[in-house]
C-alpha cells in the first residue's frame, strides 16, 4: 500500500508553500480585496515562471507533462495562501476542457499559450441564481455565433477566452470564445470575495467555435466539473488547514481568566473537531487525487466525496476560526475574514454543496460498488 504522495511530490509541495510565503501571497490577497485590481499580476507572473500553469500540459504543447498528483499539491498550497490569481479558472477549468475535448488544431492554438501564461482562460456556465441544467440553459449557439448572458464567471474580466456552455438546438455544446472579439461585453461583478474576481459576460452574436468535437456537451461538462472538483477540493483543504492553524496560534497566545484560551475545553474541543474535519477531508482528497491521476472508474464518486468533504471542512474551520478569535475575528484588520470569504467563493464556484451531495449519491447508485 502506497497511499501517499511521493517524496518528489512532497518536495514540490514544500517548495510551493515556501514560494508562496516568500511572495507574501496572503498580503497580496488582502491588497486585491481592498484595491481596484482584479488579480495580482506580479504574483501571477511568478506562478507562471514556476511552471505551474504548464503542469499537466503535454510536452508537445510546450507543457511540463507532469501528472495530476503534482497539480493537487500545488492546489493545496494555493488554497492555503489564498493566492489572488486566476489559476483555478485558467488551469482546472479552461486548460482541462481543452485537454479533454479540443481538436488538435485548437490544442495547438491554446495550450502553448496557456502553459506560458500568455493567455488566461475560464469557464462561463452560470446564467441565473438557479443551478444550470441541460434544460434551463438559455445561451444559444448557431452558425458559429454565440448569443446570451453568463454571470458569476470566475476571472471573467481577466480571461482572454472562455469555454461557454450553450444550446445548439436541443444539444448542449461547449463553445470556445475569444473574449476580445466583437459582440462580447464584460462587466466586473461585485462579489463576496473580491480577492477573486467575477464578471458577467454578454454575448451578442459573438464569433465562437465548438470545442466538444461532437461529444455530448453536457457529459463533457460534467466530466470537466468532476475533475476540477478534486483540484478545488485541494484548495479548500489547504484553506481549512490554514484556518485550523490560525485558530490554534491565536488560542495559545490569547489569555482570559488568567490562562490561555487554548486551555478552555470548549476551545480545545472546537480545535479537535476542526482537526477531525481536516483529516477526513485530507483522506478523501487523496482518494480523489488517486482517481484523477489514474482516471479510475471511481472518479465520479471520489471527486464528489473530496469536494463535499473539503467544502465541509473549510466551512467548519473558517467559521470556527473567527469564533476562536472573538471580536478580533470580526475585524477587517485580521485575516480571518479573508478565509471566510474564500471558503464561500470556492464553495460556490463549481456548484453548490447540495448539488455535489446529490451527485455523490447518484454516482453510488450508478456503480454497484461502495
Amino acid at each position: 500500500m502506497n497511499f501517499e504522495f511521493s517524496s518528489d511530490q512532497m518536495l514540490l509541495k514544500d517548495q510551493a508553500r515556501k514560494f508562496l510565503e516568500g511572495e507574501e501571497s496572503l498580503k497580496k490577497a488582502r491588497a486585491i480585496l481592498e484595491g481596484e485590481l482584479s488579480f495580482d499580476e506580479s504574483l501571477w507572473k511568478s506562478v507562471v515562471e514556476m511552471g505551474w500553469t504548464a503542469t499537466t500540459i503535454p510536452e508537445e504543447f510546450n507543457g511540463l507533462g507532469l501528472g495530476y498528483l503534482e497539480l493537487c499539491v500545488i492546489a493545496e498550497e494555493l488554497g492555503r495562501s489564498l493566492a489572488p490569481t486566476p489559476f483555478s479558472s485558467s488551469v482546472y477549468l479552461a486548460t482541462e476542457s481543452i485537454l479533454a475535448n479540443a481538436s488538435n488544431e485548437q490544442k495547438q492554438k491554446y495550450l502553448p499559450k496557456l502553459a506560458s501564461g500568455e493567455i488566461v482562460g475560464t469557464l462561463a456556465h452560470t446564467e441565473t441564481n438557479t443551478a444550470p441544467t441541460s434544460n434551463n440553459l438559455q445561451c444559444s449557439f448557431s452558425n458559429g455565433q454565440l448569443k446570451g448572458k453568463k454571470i458569476a464567471v470566475p476571472d471573467g474580466d481577466i480571461a482572454n477566452f472562455a469555454v461557454v456552455t450553450a444550446k445548439e438546438g436541443e444539444k448542449v455544446r461547449l463553445c470556445i470564445v475569444d473574449l476580445e472579439t466583437k459582440g462580447v461585453e464584460i462587466k466586473t461583478q461585485n462579489s463576496l470575495d473580491p480577492s477573486r474576481s467575477h464578471a458577467s459576460i454578454n454575448f451578442n452574436n459573438a464569433e465562437a467555435e465548438i470545442l466538444d468535437n461532437d461529444k455530448d456537451g453536457w457529459i463533457a461538462l460534467e466530466t470537466l466539473l468532476e475533475r476540477a472538483a478534486v483540484l478545488f477540493a485541494f484548495e479548500q483543504l489547504g484553506g481549512a488547514e490554514a484556518c485550523m492553524n490560525m485558530a490554534k496560534e491565536y488560542a495559545m497566545g490569547r489569555f482570559a481568566f488568567g490562562r490561555p484560551i487554548a486551555s478552555f475545553q470548549a476551545i480545545k474541543h472546537k480545535l479537535a473537531d476542526m482537526f477531525i474535519a481536516v483529516e477526513l477531508a485530507r483522506s478523501n482528497c487523496y482518494f480523489g487525487a488517486w482517481a484523477l491521476s489514474t482516471n479510475a472508474p471511481e472518479l465520479s464518486t471520489a471527486a464528489a466525496t473530496a469536494r463535499v468533504s473539503a467544502s465541509e471542512a473549510f466551512n467548519e474551520c473558517s467559521k470556527e476560526n473567527i469564533q476562536t478569535h472573538g471580536g478580533m475575528g470580526f475585524t477587517w484588520e485580521f485575516d480571518c475574514h479573508l478565509y471566510y470569504r474564500r471558503c464561500r467563493q470556492l464553495a460556490a464556484n463549481i456548484g453548490s454543496q447540495t448539488i455535489w451531495k446529490d451527485k455523490l449519491i447518484s454516482s453510488l447508485e450508478r456503480s454497484n460498488k461502495i
Binding site: E4, Q265, H269, F275, L280, S283, F287, T354, K357, I361
Partner: protein
Amino acid sequence: MDFKDTSEEATFRKEVDKWLSDNAELKEGPNDSLSSLTEEEALLRAKEWAAKLYDDGWACLHWPKEYGGRGSTPIERVIWGQEVSKYKVPGGFFEIGQGMAGPVLMMYATEEQKKRFLPPLAKGEEVWCQLFSEPGAGSDLAGLKTKSVLEGDTWTINGQKIWTSGAHYSDFGILVTRSDPDAHKHKGLTYFFLDMKSPGVEVRPIKQISGGANFNEVYFTDVKIPDDQRLGAVGDGWKVALTTLMNERLAVGDASGPDFEEIFNLACKQDLNGDLAIKNGSVRDKLADWYCQYSGLKYTKYRNISALSRGETPGPEASITKVVSGNKLQEIANFGMDLMDSAGVIRDETTDNEQSMYQYGFFGAAGIRIAGGTDEILKNIISEQVLGLPQDMRADKGIPFNKIPTSNK
C-alpha cells in the same frame, strides 16, 4: 500513489488468503456474524478458532515466535486483519488479553512468567479482563481507590472495580491499585496481574442498556497477590497503565454495526412516501454526509497502513477513528429504524434480522462512545497530544491523593 502491495506483501496476502479460505467461511455481507450464539457457545467457538490459529501459526501475528506469535511485521498484521475481516470467524473474547494484557506482560513480566502466560493467551486457552475502572474513577482513572498493602512478599487487595467486560468468564485480570494514598494521585499506584479464581474475588454481572450483561462489578476482599505478579515498580502503576491504554486505543478501532453500505442498501429498497427512500432529498443529504465520514475513515486507515508499509510509525490521525465511527453508528442506527417508520421500534429478532441490526447498533453505539475513553476524553487527547494545546486546569494538582475532593458533600 497506489493501493498495491509490495511483492512481499502480496506473497504474504496470498498465504493468508489460502489459509483462510481453507479454514473459514466467507461472510455474506459486512454484518454477517455469529451473533446469534449464546455466550457460552460463542466462547467455545472462539477458543476452538484461537487454537486452530495457534496450531497453524496465525495467532498474535506480531508477537515473537517464542511466546506463541508469528514474529510478523506491523504491515503483515494489517494484511491479516484486512483478510480475516472478510470471513465469518468467532471473536470478541481475546481482544483485552491479546491486545492489552499480552503487550504489558511482554514489557514488564519476568521471562518465566512470559513463558507461562503468553502462549496460552495466544492459543486462547485463557481469557483475560481489564480491572481498571472504578465507581469513582473512569475518565479520571488515576483517581482509583482499590487498596493494595504489602506484607512480606504478599500484597492484600481490598476494594471494587466496575464495568469489567468479561470478568465472569475470565481466568486472569490486569489490575491497577492504590498502594500509597498519601502520595500524589499519579504517584501512588501499583499494577498487578491476578488469577480471577483467587479467594476473595467476587464477580457480579451488571445488566446493560441492551439487556445483556457483558460487564461486571468485581469486589476484592482480602485478595492475596504474590509480589512477583507486580508489573512495574511499586508506585509506577500509572506508567504501566498508560502503556495499556495506548494499546487499548489501537485495539479499539471501528465501531461494529450497520455502516454506510447497510443504510444505503436499505434506502435503495425501502419505500418512503410512495417512492424509494433513496429518491428523497433529505435522505440523500444524510447519506452523503455519512459516506464522506465512511470514506474519510477508510482512506485515513490506508494512509496509516502506507506509513507502516514504509516502516514508519503511523501519525496520530488514527485517534479520530473511534470518535467519528461511534457517532456515525449512532446516527445510522437511528436513521435505519426511522426508515422503518413506526414499526422501527418493534423488537422481534425472529422475523427481521435487518431491523434488529439497527437496534443493536442503537444500543451498541451508546457504549462505544464511552468505553475505552469517552468522546470528550478523546477530544482532549487530540487537542493535547496532536495539536499541542495545554492540558485542562486541574483541581487536584499538588494535593496528596487522600485530600482530593470527590463529591459535593
